[in-house]
Amino acid sequence: MHAVEVSGISKSFGKTEVLKDISFSVSKGEIVGLIGPSGSGKTTVVKTIIGMEKADEGKVTVQNQRMPNRLLLNQIGYMAQSDALYMELSAEQQLVFFSKLYGVPKNKRKQRISECMGLVDLEKDLSKKVMIYSGGMKRRLSLALALLHEPDILVLDEPTVGIDPRLRKQIWEKLQLLKEQGGSILVTTHVMDEAERCDRLVLLLEGSVLAVGTPQELKNQFNTDSIESIFLLKKAGESA
């Protein structure tokens, strides 16, 4: 059974076809990277998985149940592309608010909040206003919010964008840890060196799946030594 299964989804906004027959899956204990240049449709795929968008064709299932389904959102931890945080509130108020929305029981709330903030190294900054957080701290707080309700599935839209290399490494270490504990993780990125850290990759180009496989398989398939050059090759191939 797949944690997330995307089968044949297509989506248009008006006349613009954004997604064309996309299929892939995420298994338990696996990190899948959704890789593609800006505008390739990564965020739309993510939004369809969490039910914010509805595919025109095809279907998305999470834990074998069809999305969109409001209650299934309790099993998904979501981190949006931009830091969607309430600037006026303290990190703690923010975490308490989201733990209520996710229905984290009252007696477990405090413990979960300190666990998650510990995981992203922000325990000391719990009572600070988010407004005075640095960009990297906000990103990490967003990740902590996604982990609050101990979701089985993590959907992270560009979790490391605008983050320095040291912090990026830290975040990926946390993701590996979560994966080893049995989590399923879908990560979008256009940073190609992150792609190497995923178990499997879905290459997205102009709304279609270009290829699916482990980083090594893809490199062999396209006969290159980096994921990045696959896209460059593809672009060159088109213009040739």
Binding site: G51, M52, E53, P68, L73, N74, I76, E88, L89, L101
Partner: protein, 363 residues
Amino acid sequence: MRMLAVAERIIQQIFKDRRTLALMLVAPLLILTLVYFLFQTDQESIARIGETGLTDPMGDQLEEADVDLVSVEPNESLKELLLNEDLDAYFLLEDDLLQVTYNASSTTTIGSVKAQIAGLRQQHFALQVEEVMMKAAESGLIQPDEAPGFLNIEETYEFGSDETTFFDTISPFLIGFFVFFFVFLISGISLLRERTTGTLDRLLATPVKRSDIVFGYLIGYGIFAVIQTIIVVFYSTYILDIQIAGSIWYVLLINSLIAFVALAFGLLLSTFANSELQMVQFIPIVVIPQIFFAGLLPVDSLQEWLQVIAKIMPLYYGGDALKAVMIFGRGIDDILLDLFILFGIAIVFTFINIQALKKYRKI
């Protein structure tokens, strides 16, 4: 309860945002006070009238009537005369002809000048009648006690007193309008910001119901709207001494419903705006027109098609109910229909809001 979590978060946010809090609670009082002083003067502006050749009784009557009367030398150019002496009107009496020249730009005094002229006419006529009567009595044609007299007049005031000012008559509308305006703007912009900062998407990625968000907003801002209403109503009653003929509780109830409508309406319109600026652009379209239909002008005397427009404006019903309670001292029976309509409008807007959020999450 997720809706309470949303409401609690909104309250936390408002408390952290002192400026918005002050705008909601203090700004209506400032404007109300300003308008109070602006409209406090109930006597009409005093007309300045220049005259040449008026009789003494005429002059006395005008002086008595609180007119600023000046004797002037006739001038060939009336325009110059009006301009140089800063006159609102010029009276020139020659024999039995009173020539009146108005300064048409003095719109606020023309009415009182005309009333004075009518008075002078009466006086002129009455003096002549008196003369005729005296002659008739002298010659024995009529008995002295048969002489005609003036009508006796006794004045009393209802729905106010001789102290009632223009401000008193528009205050019901003003209170309702300020409650509406500030709640509309602040609730609308807050949901808009939730959307533009991406937190709405983040919120919708949790198992929260769409209705939880809308009701959370209604509760969170509703609490502040009610506090605002209480402050505005009590301030108007006890500090500005606005007369409330009926129960103050009805006034609070009506204003709370107005706030409820404004909340739901602000949230709804924010769906159609992409920035704070676009939200502000709604003010001339949906807020300003309501000023004219909610009690500033007497709707009954408007043209019929304008009356139809008035009746699609939520504030019309609020203003109507407030006037009934504050000026005419009516009870619940007379405002029930207005309250019911306001409540209905708010419910409909709330429902549309819940549906409108589908734009951001399909379920």
